[in-house]
């Protein structure tokens, strides 16, 4: 168990370094929902290539990692549930202008009130959702 925590800490340091690099060199906030969302809603403008390359690496490196070491996602087999969850995640993160990376990692570390409020809300609501659907309804 503590090994899992240590890997979490190391992986977290990597994620934070990625965000620090993207901020200090490229001058942008590393927010996953914003990077992909602004490509989809047409507000990316001249930053399209930068976003595309970021996403390509974000998909490719885990693919290599998976081939080398394997990985488990334990993703739900209910497609309808995944579709609803995906839709809510997409619309919610873009309305709020950020997700776990933008509001969480980048926002909280800057002591941004918006980042802190958003993070408290999505973690709190996430906990309520798991409580309701796993322990209440037994769906998860």
């Amino acid at each position: 168990m503590p090994m899992e925590w240590l890997m979490g800490l190391l992986g977290g340091l990597m994620i934070g370094s990625a965000a620090a690099l993207y901020l200090l060199v490229n001058g942008r906030v590393m927010g996953a929902s914003g990077i992909v969302g602004q490509m989809l809603d047409g507000t990316a403008g001249k930053t399209w290539a930068e976003r595309l390359v970021f996403l390509a690496a974000l998909i490719a490196i885990p693919a290599v990692f998976y081939l080398a070491f394997g990985a488990e996602t334990h993703l739900s087999g209910h497609w309808a549930l995944l579709a609803v969850a995906g839709f809510l995640t997409g619309i919610g993160t873009r309305m709020a202008n950020g997700c776990t990376s933008g509001h969480g990692v980048c926002g909280i570390s800057r002591l941004s009130p918006r980042g802190i409020v958003a993070s408290v809300l999505y973690v709190g609501v996430g906990m309520l959702t798991v409580a309701l659907f796993r322990h209440g309804l037994g769906w998860l």
Partner: protein
């Protein structure tokens, strides 16, 4: 080119970190959210680990004006508004149901099977619809408050004179900057600029004073309005007696960025007649008529 190299490095590090930390395993993420079951604190370690380098990066960013590649650092957006709250709640439900947030959803797509693709496509659809949802939320908010907010564009609205009590509603409707286009001489003292400015700033709104004298608009008025709009971190709300002067300065400040027909047609929807400005708008836009 360098920009792309570093974008790839950041994306790759992000993906590698997500895999190493186990945040691509939905069981572990839902385990963190499951405070009434077998709680798994790994995500807290990931967040803690990620914040260390990032907190340092913000300290460095605060001391410099631009990034290594010359991009100005993003300003911190202020103001907790309705879309932020509602959006974070919706996202919390989606995250709890699936154990996936946007970053990991993309990181696992190559090996998560069809379910991962279903999530990603639905997420994309939600992202495309989000601007409409935000507009709807803002519109409902302003309707309920019975205020007369006239949205010329997504980022600029005008209104007749407001009262101090309206500022809370303006903030709740998502605006971050308020522009006062009315000289104090024509309004009662309890609505004077210093009173409004103090109340707006206490709410975290940016308040810009740009009095336009009826019939004697200056180019300084126009450029000040433009600057206020450009430096705003969110939608801008401008008020005068009827909203007419706010529409006129807006049209003049936007000349060249959209067709003159639109600059006249949009305010006309709310009864502001700007037809007489056409020659001036064409001249400012540099059009050959």
């Amino acid at each position: 080119m360098l920009r792309l190299v570093f974008a790839a490095l950041a994306g790759g590090f992000f993906g590698g970190g997500l895999m190493l930390s186990g945040m691509t395993d939905t069981a572990r993420v839902q385990g963190f959210l499951d405070i009434f079951g077998a709680w798994n604190p790994t995500l807290a370690f990931v967040m803690g680990g990620a914040m260390l380098p990032m907190a340092l990066a913000w300290v460095v960013a605060d001391r410099r004006k631009v990034s290594v590649l010359g991009t100005p650092f993003p300003p911190m957006r202020r103001g907790v508004d309705r879309p932020l709250v509602l959006g974070s709640i919706l996202f919390g439900v989606g995250w709890g149901l699936s154990g996936l947030c946007p970053g990991p959803a993309m990181a696992v797509v190559s090996f998560a099977g069809p379910g991962g693709l279903v999530f990603l496509l639905a997420m994309g659809a939600g992202m495309v619809l989000a601007p409409q949802a935000t507009r709807l939320t803002n519109r409902l908010a302003s309707q309920r408050l019975q205020m007369d907010i006239r949205r010329l564009t997504d980022s600029y609205a005008v209104s007749p004179q407001i009262a101090v009590e309206d500022l809370q509603a303006i903030k709740a409707a998502g605006f971050t900057t308020v522009i006062d286009n009315r000289p104090d001489g024509e309004i009662p003292p309890d609505l004077h600029t210093p009173v409004m400015k103090a109340a707006a700033e206490a709410l975290g709104l940016t308040f810009v004073v740009n009095p336009v004298i009826g019939g004697a608009l200056t180019m300084e008025n126009v450029s000040l309005q433009r600057q206020a709009m450009e430096s705003a971190t969110g939608p801008v709300f401008a008020y005068c007696a009827s909203g007419n002067r706010c529409s006129v300065v807006w049209a003049l400040a936007q000349a060249g960025t959209m067709p003159v027909d639109d600059l006249v047609r949009i305010p006309a929807r709310y009864g502001y007649q700007l037809d007489h400005l056409r020659p001036q708008l064409h001249a400012l836009a540099g059009d050959k008529v």
